[in-house]
């Protein structure tokens, strides 16, 4: 066997695949002055909110319910839930339908930013502090220059469960 034949015998069939970089897709939206992301797997759809029916004696963060193709969804104001202000519903307001297990809720946004792929390595821990929001923050993707603002990533399914438990035990 010639050196060339030996080299060819040892040569790979195809170019080796680049090492996998763990990354996850987030649905990002504006919430007040923040850009916020939740795992896209927790988001079913984005719709313009219809007529919201207020309910008697609900927690302040439940704005009411609205009907979406025969399904009744509670409308959740994340700003109120996180103690960061309150959302205002207009006929241009969009909500995303978030799911956690068998529970679904429509979450008010101040604007949809879209889907964003985030490498696990780019996520930094939420700053340690007394802010109650941190309980629900999985991490932060720092800003990159002026074109990509920081993204606050939420533990959405946990948040929805906590919201539900708080409502039940209120």
């Amino acid at each position: 066997m010639t050196p060339l034949q030996r080299a060819l015998a040892e040569a790979p069939e195809r170019a080796p695949a680049p090492p996998a970089v763990p990354k996850q897709e987030f649905f990002s939206f504006r919430l007040g002055e923040l850009a916020v992301g939740v795992p896209s797997i927790d988001v079913r759809e984005v719709v313009r909110v219809g007529w919201v029916t207020p309910l008697p004696r609900t927690p302040a963060w439940i704005l009411g319910v609205f009907g979406l193709r025969g399904e009744v969804l509670p409308v959740l104001d994340l700003l109120r839930f996180l103690g960061k202000g309150e959302s205002r519903l207009t006929d241009r307001t969009r909500v995303f339908v978030g799911v956690a297990g068998s529970h679904a809720a429509a979450v008010v946004t101040d604007g949809v930013l879209g889907l964003r792929e985030v490498k696990e390595a780019d996520i930094v821990a939420a700053p340690v502090g007394g802010d109650a929001v941190n309980e629900h923050v999985r991490g932060v993707v720092p800003a990159r220059g002026v074109h990509q603002e920081a993204l606050v990533l939420l533990h959405f399914s946990k948040l929805l469960q906590v919201a539900r438990q708080r409502a039940v035990t209120r």
């Binding site: 219809g50 007529w51 919201v52 029916t53 207020p54 309910l55 008697p56 004696r57 609900t58 927690p59 439940i62 319910v65 609205f66 009907g67 025969g70 399904e71 009744v72 969804l73 509670p74 529970h103 809720a105 929805l160 919201a163 539900r164 409502a167 039940v168 209120r170």
Partner: protein
């Protein structure tokens, strides 16, 4: 009630504080002028005049829920009704919703308006 294979239910539509609600018509004995005995369910909203009352049967005999206006009866298909989502945790008297053409309408159980989770609510 079953009409042509489709189950229906009669609802009485009423209004409190500018918000429309519905109750099962079979619970309502009559609609009357509110008397001094009529009670208010504050969680339904602030009454504007509260001169009308939905009179219904209860353990003590009759009870009157004060309302602002009564908008008549509607026969609706049962498949347009939904249970109240547990995560909404509304007042116990708000037991479900009717998906009307315009917006979901809260279904009120009149018996629950007497009880409620918050004893001081019905006055």
């Amino acid at each position: 009630m079953n009409l042509g294979g489709e189950a229906h239910i009669d609802l009485l539509l009423f209004e409190v504080g500018g918000q429309k609600y519905a109750a099962h018509a079979e619970q309502v004995r009559r609609v009357d002028r509110a008397t001094a005995d009529a009670f208010e369910r504050r969680s339904l909203g602030p009454l504007r005049d509260g001169q009308r009352a939905l009179v219904f049967e209860c353990a003590e005999g009759e009870a009157q829920l004060r309302v602002d206006a009564v908008h008549g009866f509607r026969r609706v298909a049962v498949d347009q009704l939904r249970r109240m989502p547990a995560s909404a945790q509304a007042d116990a008297c708000a037991v479900g919703l009717w998906l009307s053409d315009e917006q979901p309408l809260v279904l009120v159980d009149l018996m629950e308006t007497r009880k409620g989770r918050h004893g001081s609510d019905a006055t």
